[in-house]
């Protein structure tokens, strides 16, 4: 009511100015470097990027490389299990901590500390704990259960699950933190009203809290998805891609070819394939979200 035409435009200008750094970053850094790396994927670059053109030969080589196809297969399994487990565990931890428990601070730090630690050392600890001769299998057998088996990490079919366990251990604390922040933003009076109506606590969570946590779940999902695409440290620290190539992941394939094998062209091709996959998954989801009505203010 009080806003006049010139004032309305000024406010929009302020918003545009504020978003300028983001625009520069997106266009200059992200789009620029992605386009550059796609360009390089069509070259024969070895240790330094080269400006020649070799068509699709890097991509042909890529998909003829068994290690790459194994890594794609692994990341799919890892991705689904990891995201599911982290969301569920993170949600329950957040809900439990939201119940006015004693020592919430300490408990929250216990669930979050894995995130603080460099995976180089913690991954090694997980490798030791899961090693059949050294860790949990040996300890349980010593306790008097000689038939106990827990040697997934040396088993080519099961090693990917050990990576999921260690990665969930590291990341679910963060999901818990995000969801807890979301929970804390929910009005307490809603619970009081529900209680008066005789709604049990779990029902309240299901029908009132869960829907309101939509954005927080969205944030967690994206954080976890980014983690899945980039997963590297846990693999290097726990299995180095082994046994054989059984626990290879795309980020490790890219790193190895970028640096150790001096194969910048192949690494760029792999990275482009990963990005195309992400795009293929993101675009439908983005379209679905933009169709939903958003509560935007008209300037």
């Amino acid at each position: 009511m009080a806003s006049s035409q010139p004032a309305r435009k000024k406010r929009a200008a302020a918003a545009q100015l504020a978003l300028l750094p983001m625009a520069i970053t997106v266009l200059g850094v992200y789009i620029g470097t992605v386009l550059w790396s796609v360009r390089i994927s069509f070259s024969s670059s070895k240790i330094f990027p080269k400006n020649d053109f070799v068509g699709f030969s890097q991509y042909e080589r890529l998909f003829a490389t068994e290690r790459w196809t194994v890594s794609l297969h692994n990341i799919a399994i890892f991705g689904v299990l990891f995201i599911l487990a982290c969301m569920v565990l993170g949600f329950f931890l957040a809900v439990f901590l939201d119940q006015h428990v004693r020592g919430e601070n300490v408990l929250r730090t216990i669930f979050l500390y894995p995130y603080a630690m460099s995976f180089v050392a913690t991954g090694l600890v997980w490798q030791w704990m899961l090693n059949p001769g050294l860790g949990i299998q040996a300890a349980v057998r010593n306790l008097g259960f000689p038939e106990f088996q827990f040697d997934w990490i040396v088993n080519q079919d099961k090693v990917i699950y050990t990576l999921v366990v260690a990665a969930v251990w590291q990341a679910s604390g963060l999901v818990m933190a995000v969801l807890l922040a979301g929970l804390r933003g929910i009005d307490e009076s809603l619970w009081n009203a529900a209680r008066i109506d005789g709604v049990p606590r779990w029902r309240y969570y299901l029908s009132v809290v869960l829907p309101q946590l939509g954005p927080a779940f969205g944030t967690s999902f994206v954080l976890l998805a980014v983690g899945v695409v980039k997963v590297y440290d846990v693999v290097v620290a726990m299995t180095l891609g082994g046994p054989g190539n059984a626990s290879e992941v795309p980020a490790k394939f890219i790193m190895d070819n970028l640096f150790t094998r001096a194969n910048v062209g192949l690494a760029s091709a792999a990275s482009t394939v990963m990005l195309l996959t992400v795009l293929a998954l993101l675009v439908p989801w983005w379209y679905a979200r933009s169709v939903q009505s958003r509560k935007l203010v008209h300037s």
Partner: protein, 307 residues
């Protein structure tokens, strides 16, 4: 505008402490079950830490015997001293303390800058209509998935041309840029949960873009700022590759020394020192987690709708 702010601020200055314990003292089965679940989850999370801590106080001969879960038979704190001040990191043997302040100088401005821009972007995207902003945000989200190793070479060349390669400013810029997607997402989704009536009321009271941001939205964002601080401090403090490439020899973060202590191609591995060094490096993010506790408060926006 100020009237709205007055209505909002009281919960912030007088936070609802969860010490209101009237409901808490029932030892119902549900309550006991809750604690049981929390304690067993805590045990799962703590097991690796237990192994790390006992490994860090054992001598190497005992570690080589391989009894992973056994308590140390001869306790020694030498590895901790070594890790901090005497472990070899190249020609120098001064431990990981060397890079501590460098890491601080990198983390503080990078965290502040990336959170500021994230909050600003999230605020502008949530409440203001700017042409093309939604599309820009989508591409930014896509950018979060780009493996940053592939981006290193072009960024090296770009920073070199503006003389920022190998400088503190350069590494802060890099961290801000890499943090932008996730920070923007964090704040945008948080503001999506803020009642739109608050914003409308503030506009009616005559608030402009910046005033609403600084006086209304930011103070209301403490829980998500806590999460953002946790994420950025952790990611930037633990970052190795970007610091190694972009920070320059005089600004190398602590993670470079940590890598030099832990990692080796063909040298001896002192696992007790490695574990001690890892725990020491993680103390700063852990302290941040503990301190951020006071921001996970309930009721920041409570009462605002009714008011």
């Amino acid at each position: 505008m100020s009237a709205v702010v007055e209505r909002i601020t009281p919960p912030v200055t007088a936070p609802v402490q969860r010490k209101a314990v009237h409901r808490k003292s029932h030892f119902t089965p549900a309550r006991l079950g809750l604690y049981a679940l929390l304690v067993s989850s805590a045990a799962f999370f703590l097991l690796p830490l237990y192994v790390m801590l006992i490994t860090s106080v054992k001598p190497m001969e005992e570690i080589h015997l391989g009894r992973l879960f056994a308590l140390p038979s001869s306790l020694t704190f030498e590895p901790w001293v070594q890790a901090w001040s005497a472990a070899c990191t190249g020609l120098e043997c001064r431990g990981i303390q060397v890079g501590f302040w460098n890491s601080v100088w990198i983390v503080v401005p990078s965290t502040i800058a990336s959170i500021f821009f994230g909050a600003l972007n999230g605020y502008a995207l949530s409440f203001w209509r700017v042409r093309g902003a939604g599309w820009l945000f989508g591409v930014l989200m896509f950018g979060a998935f780009v493996p940053y190793q592939v981006m290193i070479y072009p960024l090296v060349r770009t920073l070199a041309t503006v003389n920022l390669f190998g400088t503190l400013g350069g590494i802060v810029f890099i961290h801000t840029v890499f943090g932008m997607p996730v920070m923007t997402l964090l704040f945008r989704n948080y503001y999506a949960g803020v009642p739109i009536e608050l914003f409308k009321a503030a506009r009616i009271d005559g608030g402009g873009f910046w005033r609403i941001f600084f006086q209304l939205m930011l103070p209301m964002s403490l829980p998500i700022i806590a999460v953002a601080v946790i994420m950025q401090v952790t990611n930037i403090w633990n970052d190795f590759l970007l610091g190694l490439v972009f920070a320059g020899r005089d600004n190398l973060p602590m993670t470079v020394q940590l890598n030099n202590v832990i990692n080796t191609t063909t040298g001896e591995r002192l696992y007790n020192v490695n574990m001690a060094a890892t725990v020491l490096t993680s103390l700063l993010p852990l302290a941040v987690y503990l301190i951020s506790g006071r921001w996970f408060l309930r009721g920041i926006t409570a009462g605002a709708v009714k008011g």
